[in-house]
């Protein structure tokens, strides 16, 4: 009897407990990984304020960035406002350009022509996702930048004093809008597809046209999902480094117009980290930017959850 028990326990261990423990461990591992990421980035990023005694307020709200400035000229300045502003505005531009198209495509795929949607557009979107950001950057630099440069030179309403290199906020926003387009499109497509067929059928059966059904029933019902897609697109735009760095002009002044050159948090990290000496204020300030990026990306998640909660309230 007790032998029988033993065998049984052994079997249970082998057939259930062992596997369960292993997968549970790796589930928990993800938490550990996240915490250690936060810990290490924070430990570096906070030293700007703790060791170098810089003011976090200045870091966030001053636009003077010159970490190597000699004491005689006023000492180092690490105001990151230019980068924060640049990141926000370039992502916002990308979002403004991308969202209408992405949502339109998702509607097209789910409602207008599911066939073309599945057979052609879905692969097209997947390929857009797969194109590496350096390629986007490269095309941006060699095709878009000269084009915008010409535009700024020829269009009469553009202030020629601002910037005619073709690099700048608008160019960065355009490149990013192509990059985040698939994210938004595929998530809002999923949101539309996840709607019960019922809604559409009911609406059609009442004599509504397709567009009426889409606008009055489907879009409102899928809105939480679409918003999630938009926030994720925003997060992606915010975090992109190389493609933006290649085309934004990397100017350390607040831009005066969307044609002006600007800078982003990711871009300045990419460019300056290599030449900064570890442990110096310059390097620490760059780490602080990384920490800020991390905090902002966590914020995006919180926002998405808020949207999701609202969505479930409807259901």
């Amino acid at each position: 009897m007790s032998k029988h028990r033993d065998n049984k326990n052994k079997r249970y261990f082998k057939n259930e407990l062992l596997g369960k423990s292993v997968v549970t461990f790796f589930g928990v591992f993800l938490i550990i990984l996240t915490i250690s990421l936060v810990f290490f980035i924070a430990s570096q990023g906070l030293s700007t304020f703790i060791i170098d005694k810089q003011s976090p307020f200045k870091f966030l709200f001053s636009s003077k960035w010159d970490p190597l400035r000699e004491i005689s000229k006023g000492g180092p300045a690490i105001g990151a406002l230019v980068f924060i502003f640049g990141s926000i505005s370039v992502s916002a531009i990308a979002l403004l350009i991308s969202t209408p198209f992405s949502v339109a495509i998702s509607i097209f795929m789910s409602e207008i022509s599911p066939n073309i949607g599945r057979k052609i557009l879905q692969p097209v979107i997947e390929i857009f996702v797969g194109i590496p950001s350096v390629v986007y950057g490269w095309i941006g630099l060699t095709v878009l930048v000269p084009f915008i440069s010409k535009l700024t030179l020829t269009l009469p309403f553009i202030d020629k004093d601002i910037n005619t290199t073709g690099k700048g906020l608008l160019t960065g926003g355009l490149v990013l809008s192509i990059m985040i387009f698939p994210t938004i499109a595929s998530i809002s497509y999923d949101a539309l597809k996840a709607l019960p067929r019922d809604y559409k059928e009911a609406s059609f059966a009442l004599g509504a046209t397709r567009w009426q059904s889409i606008r009055k029933v489907l879009i409102p019902a899928a809105l939480p999902g679409m918003l999630t897609g938009i926030v994720l697109g925003l997060a992606r735009a915010f975090g992109e480094a190389l493609a933006v760095q290649m085309v934004i002009g990397n100017n350390i002044l607040l831009p005066k117009s969307i044609f002006d050159r600007a800078n982003t948090m990711t871009s300045v990290i990419t460019m300056e980290m290599g030449n900064a000496v570890t442990g110096t204020l310059e390097a620490n300030a760059l780490w602080s930017l990384a920490l800020l990026l991390l905090i902002i990306s966590f914020l995006f998640i919180v926002i998405i959850h808020k949207i999701g909660a609202k969505g479930s309230f409807i259901k």
Partner: protein
């Protein structure tokens, strides 16, 4: 009134068709342009020879190899972890605080900018370990980048297995774990494979996280040396190396070779073609596996 609604409907439909067509055109133009620009470089010697910063005619052999190598390494790291975590989330996770925390971690990791992960890798894998820039650190960094995606894919494909199949196994007296290993995972394979190939494509094109971990340059390799412990062997994971995507970025930002532009064009074309290959193969393989499992 109805007439007006119908006209609106027509217009909206037309606009949507136009946008869809534009999108397809954009991709064709985009890919076509890149491939056209790089076509003069699309030959075997470009694909296999060493980069050259001195003279024209350098190739992308080692960077191409490095990209593939990092994909393989990172899959070897993420697959066991991601599959385990995915199994946990799909099958064992109860709606507890812990599960919520894991879910939040997955989302948080997924939303992190790759450059932040690159910096983390730089700090921990490159500096704290004293390894310096090396492929393994790069693979670890992109693994962090990829882990939430792989976990999600595994979780989803396991969840997508019809509940009835799972019930059948349990009802026969299989334990939960036996059911997972013998029924759920085999059933989930088509979804898993397609998902994994697509994410591999993303690792293949990643650059920001690698600049600070595997480095932006390598040294000459001996492609006849298969001893992974030997420092000139391409299989040595502890050597610094530039991947194809990093290579493009570097050529663009500090290329000195006279044909730098052409080299970047060629490398971009190779990257784009790889993306196509990743996509097509995932489709073909997915279809094949689906058919195989559906018994057709």
């Amino acid at each position: 009134m109805i007439i007006k609604a119908k006209v609106t409907d027509r217009i909206a439909t037309a606009v949507l068709y136009i946008i869809a067509t534009l999108l397809i055109l954009l991709l064709i133009l985009f890919a076509g342009y890149i491939i056209y620009q790089g076509k003069s470089k699309l030959n075997l010697s470009f694909l296999t020879s060493e980069p050259n910063s001195l003279e024209a005619g350098g190739g992308i052999g080692p960077p191409l190899f490095n990209s593939i190598y990092i994909v393989v390494l990172s899959l070897a790291i993420t697959l066991p972890i991601g599959l385990s975590a995915g199994i946990y989330m799909a099958e064992y996770a109860k709606p507890t605080k812990l599960t919520k925390l894991i879910r939040f971690s997955i989302e948080a990791l997924a939303s992190l900018p790759s450059i932040v992960i690159g910096l983390f890798g730089f700090l921990v894998f490159v500096q704290k370990t004293g390894w310096g820039f090396n492929i393994f650190s790069g693979a670890l960094a992109v693994s962090i980048l990829n882990l939430p995606v792989v976990t999600r894919i595994c979780e989803d494909s396991i969840r997508n297995v019809p509940h009835s199949v799972k019930e059948a196994s349990l009802a026969i007296g299989a334990t939960h774990w036996q059911t997972i290993i013998r029924v759920l995972i085999p059933c989930a394979i088509p979804g898993l494979v397609t998902g994994l190939i697509i994410t591999s494509g993303r690792v293949f094109g990643e650059a920001a996280a690698l600049i600070f971990t595997s480095g932006v340059s390598g040294y000459p390799l001996d492609f006849t040396n298969f001893n992974p412990m030997d420092s000139s062997s391409p299989l040595n994971p502890f050597r610094p190396a530039e991947t194809l995507a990093v290579f493009i970025w570097k050529v663009n930002s500090e290329g000195t070779a006279p044909d730098a532009r052409l080299v970047a064009d060629g490398a971009s074309a190779v990257l784009i073609i790889s993306v196509f290959l990743f996509n097509i193969s995932s489709r073909i393989l997915g279809k094949f596996l689906n058919n195989k499992f559906a018994g057709r």
